[in-house]
Symmetry: C2
Subunit: 100 residues, 2 copies
């Protein structure tokens, strides 16, 4: 069962422009390659690695390693169960229609 | 129209245990006196003043001054319009039933 403590950890993780965009990109629930061009946010690869780690450690994402390929996936079902409506609120808003 | 920038500001403001509880307390949308016992989180009054200021400057709350009494109110309608479902997600969850 989720506590405020867990929720604060998740909020801290997404309270960053790049990490919020990562979560919005992952909101479809599918695994996304860690090296894809859709992560081209104009920051260094090591910075992206840092953001990916923050999200994973906060319980927002999982990493899937297949052979030599690393993918990242939002823990969508777990998050929807623990924090109902939160991912929807972060991804679906009046702004999404024009900015995506 | 809300942007990611605004959303990140709001997320930063609520990504704190005390500020999250303040928002949960204010979620009813009614004005609450700033000196009420329901703000007894075991921190100094100046710390609460700091938290109230962060929330107000992020656009989450407004302060209402009547005579010598200061009240705080969640900008519930504005927030629901700009970030649909966000306040609900912060206040209604599986944990709320047992902890409130």
């Amino acid at each position: 069962m989720a506590s405020d403590h867990d929720l604060v950890d998740v909020l801290r993780a997404v309270a960053d422009p790049i990490r919020l965009r990562i979560v919005q990109t992952l909101a479809d629930g599918r695994p996304h390659g860690k090296c894809g061009t859709h992560w081209d946010f104009g920051v260094h690869k090591s910075t992206m690695t840092h953001h990916f780690r923050i999200l994973r450690e906060a319980g927002l994402t999982r990493t899937i390693v297949t052979g030599r390929s690393h993918s990242i996936q939002l823990c969508r079902e777990e998050l929807d169960a623990r924090f109902p409506g939160l991912i929807d609120a972060l991804t679906a808003g009046p702004d999404r229609e024009t900015h995506r």
